[in-house]
Assembly symmetry: D2
Amino acid sequence: MSLEEKTIDYKQVLENLYITIASEENKGAIATYIPELAKVDAKNFGVCFLSTKNEEYGVGNWQTKFSIQSISKVLSLSIAYQIFGDKIWDRVDVEPSGTPFNSLVQLESDAGIPRNPFMNSGAMVICDMLVSYYENPKEDFLVAVRELCSSSEIRYSEAVAKSEASVGYRNKALCNFIKSFGNIENEPEEVLDFYFHICAIEMSCQELSKVFMFLANPNFTTSKGSKVLSLSKTKRVNAIMQTCGFYDESGEFSFRVGLPGKSGVGGGIVAIYPDKYCITVWSPKLNEKGNSYRGMKFLEAFTTETEQSIF
Amino acid sequence: MSLEEKTIDYKQVLENLYITIASEENKGAIATYIPELAKVDAKNFGVCFLSTKNEEYGVGNWQTKFSIQSISKVLSLSIAYQIFGDKIWDRVDVEPSGTPFNSLVQLESDAGIPRNPFMNSGAMVICDMLVSYYENPKEDFLVAVRELCSSSEIRYSEAVAKSEASVGYRNKALCNFIKSFGNIENEPEEVLDFYFHICAIEMSCQELSKVFMFLANPNFTTSKGSKVLSLSKTKRVNAIMQTCGFYDESGEFSFRVGLPGKSGVGGGIVAIYPDKYCITVWSPKLNEKGNSYRGMKFLEAFTTETEQSIF
Amino acid sequence: MSLEEKTIDYKQVLENLYITIASEENKGAIATYIPELAKVDAKNFGVCFLSTKNEEYGVGNWQTKFSIQSISKVLSLSIAYQIFGDKIWDRVDVEPSGTPFNSLVQLESDAGIPRNPFMNSGAMVICDMLVSYYENPKEDFLVAVRELCSSSEIRYSEAVAKSEASVGYRNKALCNFIKSFGNIENEPEEVLDFYFHICAIEMSCQELSKVFMFLANPNFTTSKGSKVLSLSKTKRVNAIMQTCGFYDESGEFSFRVGLPGKSGVGGGIVAIYPDKYCITVWSPKLNEKGNSYRGMKFLEAFTTETEQSIF
Amino acid sequence: MSLEEKTIDYKQVLENLYITIASEENKGAIATYIPELAKVDAKNFGVCFLSTKNEEYGVGNWQTKFSIQSISKVLSLSIAYQIFGDKIWDRVDVEPSGTPFNSLVQLESDAGIPRNPFMNSGAMVICDMLVSYYENPKEDFLVAVRELCSSSEIRYSEAVAKSEASVGYRNKALCNFIKSFGNIENEPEEVLDFYFHICAIEMSCQELSKVFMFLANPNFTTSKGSKVLSLSKTKRVNAIMQTCGFYDESGEFSFRVGLPGKSGVGGGIVAIYPDKYCITVWSPKLNEKGNSYRGMKFLEAFTTETEQSIF
């Protein structure tokens, strides 16, 4: 909602806010439960703004690759949605959960149907669909992401995938638990291997803003000229990000930032202003809910400063 | 998100959809747990569209008053927000709950802090604040609502308030439970009396669209010329409606309709398109989640037809 | 289980243990949530042993009256069981709960059927039965208890009942919650008044050992010569005490003491050795689970010392 | 509790009850979730009574081996208790759970400490201790059990172990979940392999009554002349069986039968009367809580008929 449509100098806002926030204390802690992730330099801080009119502004470490982690869940959902259409909602719901990202409790009362595709459980069910569909799941998925991004430079970090697999007992628990309800078709080991890999995709803020443009720009087409999702499906993915993109801090993000978005424990956050822009922030230190401390702060300031939000 | 800004004939869309949906089966059931509510005629079906440019279109029973029930929770929240500012968030959270509207379970684990102001528990905490603040809570609240609506024709239904009080054991349980955690200041009886009354306000679709205009129009002023909420606070109330307005069907509404909104068990639903319009639908039969069957259907069709949603 | 049946000098064991434990640190805290209970002197410590052969040994403050609180739940259960027989199990279960005594969570998943008659919720359902049955519930119940005890000196403390009512929001929540499921027949206010009164019965260790003799002695008859419960029903009440008598410390008590028993937040504990004896301990300081610190300690030492337990 | 010590003709009671119950409808269903278990003949029905004075009475299929399943949890607990003493209670609690045997919910709120050693989760933690302790866990455990039973005829069914492993997704979920809390030392695969094997031990009613004699007879010594557990530890294992031996039907068993016992999904139930006897019943059809339908019925009738129970 905006008092009137005014011309905003996004570049100026971006740069000013970056300087301000970079000068303030950097609270929180890097995620250390995945040993490989703990190695990242906490001082990294980058932002990339990309408008539907192709204006691109970057600041700080906006071209440094990092582990996108749960941000990948939007990509796997969108690609599965493109392939399977609304059938996917038979196996995963679209409701916010009110519980942490890796909770097993609701699965028990919901008989194996995850609350939404952005909880780990829901993302695993989506992964299971893709594992069933693709001939070479890991390779084929990368091809699809690269096409979205028009870049061949998107890769998995085998070190991160392996590191996560080595300690991912809770995710193994989740996947076996869903399997016990019959909502995983393949063997948990295979689904988890795929899941750990797509979480281990590495991208920069610049690449993420580009790859998420299909959710901001209704006229977006891939490098091969094809549309990703219909207008209606695009709207729906954005709606799920709005209600479920930040685990049990989704309401808080919606409340403070007012845009659909998705975060990852690597410290990245992507936010979408439909019809206008996509913005990606990266700063590895996380608040206690597992979302980037500076990322949250930057995006709240950004929508406040520009007096723009979808509400 | 819209492919391009086009001129939409809202009146035409409204009337066509009304005819279509009125001709289809009217599923669901009237809420019967409040005896007085059960008396309403299930055939009622009305819609009122009101744009920020003051275009008003009504169809069906759009001028018939009905019990607004939980829709009142947006009014009590907004008025409390105006009075107390961000202090209210010390006593109630802004997260979607993932559980039914009257659940006691989360209160136990959250030590008496309701998940959001649109659950019954959260609305009671807001009511408690207003009971502490107002000299004559019921009278003073009505004055505030009338000012928002520029109408002196807004009243409580004493019959509905009394009817709900006579069977409201679960709400009594909730209020005493929150009191046991110290998050209710006044005696539960007084808070409940106020709560049951504001749920029993009666308005028509026309009046509701008018009274909610302050959430759609950033330039809105009351009949006395004063602003209700700042732009930032308005945005935040809309954000909470988006994530929490439909109990454990909030994600579904966001997914299908793509607008912030609020429903009541009287069969009313108000939805807001910030900067553009407010739309109210009323049809008493509810789906299994407690939201108006035709209301949900109409609004989904309306945003699909107009190809407009905030996403 | 005992290596061999040997002659035990209960009096000697009792007195020695009393001296030992009285000399050790008295940990824990008096229950303060009921203001009137907080007034009791923490130094009180009494024990009364009564065998089925009518040997009675007392030590310390064994003849001082105190608030029996939840110990009364065994009396209300037994009297209701006598009146209604196995019909009572339609409205309350016999399973341990695994949750604190005043939890509302399980009631929600169990649709208003309390887990057992020793949780507050279950005791309220039992109270509701008695309120429906008796002409003057409070008076009539006292008559029944006095008959069990062959004493006219048993009374309610009106001060404690009133004190508990004044702060009993959680119990009010519980009772209204069960009523909302239809498992309370009378108005919650009336059931709660009865419930708060029977919790406020005052007895000494001596009186409690006497009143509980019907659960230890299969040949017990009341002052009027009538049997309380059949052998089979007696066994069942003891079994419920064994599994549910100490809230979420029931397993611990069973593990350490090995006798069926029941505690109250007034600091009393009654334990039964079927066919052999009834023993009551009172010491007001409670451990973190709400059971008498010295009471637990004394009983564990007593069964260890005598090498007797039902196991 | 018994009116007086009378001479009971156990053999006669056993045989009469067997005939009666065998003539009545055999309700319930064989456990089919482990494919190999589903192959058993539902008509099997055997009982073996063994007194501490070595009186042995058998009837029906009392010498046929069957899969003891969860009954093995008492053996692993007892052997671990013998090895590690009370240290084991740092990693597993002794409280009844109030939830099904394979629930993950409580583990989440209890941070990975299982409620008791007879839930699957608790048994896995015990297994983990034994895996850490033994050089060749599966072989060494069998040696220990054989010594208890004075029989070299106790074996694992590799077919059942393999069958359970092939479908045991929920158990895999449980074990990985506990591991994620740090309460499993070894790799889940190894712990599960051990766990599935000890569940797959095959014994007859006769062998089970013999192997459990150490819990009934305080003077019991193994074939090598050594004591298994001290009197105090024996009492404690019996107490845990009493409160936790039948999952969320533990209260019901205690209520109806009044003896400590343990059931398995293979249809076996062992019950202990301390100082007097051990009795084992086997009938594969299970009630809805997963306990042998005829086993429960027989034991209830047996303690009613003999007018003997620990209460």
